[in-house]
C-alpha cells in the first residue's frame, strides 16, 4: 500500500525507473529491493519484469538481497588508496567481523567497497548511508561505528 504511494508520486515514464527504484529501496529498512517491488515497478511503468530486473542488477547502488540497516561504502579508488584506504579496510573488517559484501549478524551494517565518491579532498573517505565521512583513521572509524551502534 505504502509502496504504491511511493511509486505513484512519479510520472509513469520509463526514464523515472532509477528514481523510483531509489525511493523504494530507501523505504525498505533492510535497504534492498524485493521481488514485489520489481513487479510493482514493472506494472506501473508497463515494462517486462525482466527489463526491471536487468536494470537493477546492473547498478551498484541497488541490492536484491537484504542488507544491513546501514550501508558502509568504503572508497577504494586510487586517491583514497594513496591516502591509506586499505588500512581502513582491515580495520573495518576486524571491527565488524565481516567481509566485503557481508552483513553483520545483528543486521546493523553491510560492508561494501565503492569507486570514487567525489569527496577525494578528504581522502580516505567512506559513506554510511547518505552521510560522507572523510580524513578517516582507524581510530576515527571506531568512534563513528560506536555512534551508529549506540543509535541502533
Amino acid at each position: 500500500m505504502e509502496k504504491l504511494e511511493i511509486v505513484r508520486r512519479f510520472p509513469r515514464k520509463r526514464d523515472q525507473l532509477l528514481a523510483i527504484l531509489h525511493e523504494l529501496q530507501r523505504a525498505n529498512p533492510r535497504n534492498y529491493l524485493t521481488g514485489e517491488d520489481l513487479r510493482l515497478v514493472a506494472e506501473y511503468l508497463d515494462l517486462p519484469l525482466s527489463a526491471v530486473h536487468d536494470a537493477v542488477t546492473f547498478y551498484s547502488m541497488f541490492s536484491l538481497v537484504p542488507r544491513g540497516k546501514h550501508i558502509i561504502r568504503l572508497c577504494d579508488s586510487p586517491p583514497c588508496h594513496l591516502a591509506g584506504a586499505w588500512s581502513l579496510l582491515s580495520a573495518l573488517k576486524e571491527e565488524l567481523g565481516i567481509d566485503v559484501g557481508q552483513t553483520t549478524e545483528d543486521g546493523l551494517f553491510t560492508l561494501e567497497l565503492t569507486s570514487c565518491l567525489g569527496v577525494c579532498g578528504v581522502a580516505p573517505a567512506m559513506m554510511i548511508d547518505d552521510e560522507v565521512y572523510g580524513n578517516l583513521t582507524p581510530e576515527r572509524l571506531k568512534e563513528i561505528l560506536a555512534r551508529y551502534r549506540e543509535e541502533g
Partner: protein
Amino acid sequence: MRIARAHVLVGVDEEARLAGVDRVLSAFREAIRNAGLEGEVQVVETGTLGVSGRGVVLVVYPEGVYYAGVTPEDVPVIVEEHLLKGRPVERLRLPAAVPQTEPRQVLGRQVRVVLRNCGVIDPEEIEEYIAAGGYEALGKALTEMSPDEVIEEIKRSGLRGRGGAGFPTGVKWEAVRRASGQEKYVICNADEGEPGTFKDRLILEGDPHKLIEGMIIAGYAVGARKGYVYIRGEYQLSIARMQKAISQAREYGLLGDDILGSGFSFDLEVRPGAGAYVCGEETSLIESLEGKRGWPRIRPPYPVTCGLWGKPTVVNNVETLANVPEILRQGADWYRTLGTPTCPGTKVYTLLGHVRYPGLVEVEMGTPLRTLVYELGGGVPEGRTLKAVLVGGAAGAFLSPQDLDVRMDFDSLREMAAALGSGAVLVMDESACIVDMLASVLRFFRHESCGQCTPCRAGTDALVRLIEAVRRGEGDGRTLGLMTEIVETMRLASLCPLGQSVALPVTTALTHFRDEFEAHLAGEPCPRCHKLERALR
C-alpha cells in the same frame, strides 16, 4: 546580498557538512546576536570556497580573510576579535600560500570564470545569481541573437568539451541543430565518476544556476525544448540543490513556456544515476536515462543524430555548460584572451594526494603542470620528493618529475601521449609505490567494466591478476610484456572508450617507472604489500 558592513561566507558542501558546518553556522548566528551585530554582519551560506581537506572554511569580507578548521568554539572568538575589534584571528587563518583574495577576482594565479560565483553567492538564492550578472547572457541570446548566431559565437570562442575528450562544443551544437527532426534534447552529464574528480559536484553545489543558464542557451541554440541533468546517485546534495534551483528558475519564468517573452520554451529535469562509472560515457548515460542498464551503444550513429529516445541530442559536461553564459556575456574575443589558441579559456582541476594544499583550482588552459603542483598545491610536504603525478584520473597518465613542464591543455598533453581527462591531478611522493597505484587503478577498471564486450571484461580481470603477481614478486620476464599486449588489444578491440582507455595508465606507468616494476619482479614482496594483501583478501 543586502547591504551589510561585513559578510561571513561559510562554505557549505559535503566536506563542510561532515566537519560540522551546521553547528558552526548556528554558533555564528548566536554569537552575532549576542554581540548586537545583527544587520551589520551577515552570515551567508555558500558553496565550496575551493579549499579542501581543512574542515569548515569561511571567509570574512570585505577583508577577504580565510579561516579554516573552524569549530563552534572558535566562533565567539572570531566574532569578538575580528568582527567587533577588526583583528583577524591569526591562529585560524589559512597559510599564506593558499590563495587569498577578493571575490570574483584572480586568486593567486587562478582565473575564475567557471567558479566565479562559487563561494561568493548563496547557491540557493536565484536573486544572488542574478545580481552577479546571472541570466544576462540568456537575455542577450534570446532577444538579440538567432540560434545560429549563438552557435557561431560558441564556435568562435573555441570552447572545447571539459568532459575529457575536448570536442569543440560549437561544432557539436551545430550538428544537432542541423540534424533533422523536431524533437531534440540537451543532456548535462553530471555523472562525474572519474576517480579524483569532484569539480562538477562543486559547480552543482556552488552555482547551480550557471549550469541551468548554460543549458537553456544550449537548448535555444540547437532547437531543443527539453533538457535533463543526469547526476550520479551518490551526490545527494547536488541533486537537492539542482532541483531547488530549477524550481526557482521556473518561478522566475526562466524555465517553462515562452521564456522572457521570446516565444522559446524549455524545461529541465533531474535524473539520478545509481552507481556505475560507465554511465558517464555518453551513450551509456542515454541508455541509463531511458531506464535501462547502462551499456554503451555501438557508435555510429552518434548522439548528435540519434541520442535520447533516438532523437538528436547534445550531451555536455557540467563544466562545459558552465562556461557558456560567461562566453556570451563577455564575448568570444574576451574568452580567447584566456588559455591557448587551440584551447581557449580556463580549466578546473582537483589537486590531490601528496601536496600541501589539496583542493579545487581554476587556471588558464596551458598552465604548466609545475605551476599547479608547486605554486597552487604548495608542492610536496617538507622533506619529501616528488615521484609521480597521475593526470586525468584512473583513465589518465602517470607522469614523472621530468614531465612537469608540460602545459595543461588538450593538445600539449596529447602530444606527449597523455590526456587532460577530467582534470584530476594526483600527486605522489616517494612513499607511493607505482606498482601498488597501478594495481588500484586496474581494480577500479575491473570493478567498473560493464561486461558487455569480451576484450574489456576479460582484459581487466587478467590485468588485475598480472599486477597482483608483480606485486607478490611472482611474475616473470613475460608478465610486463603480456600486460602491454592485453591493453593494446583492449585499445583496438573494446567497444567503448572505457576499455580503450586502460592502455594509458598501464603504458605510462610501465614506461616511466619501468625500474620499479622490475625491482618488484626481482625482489621480495614489501611489508606494505603484506598488509595490503591481508586487507584485500
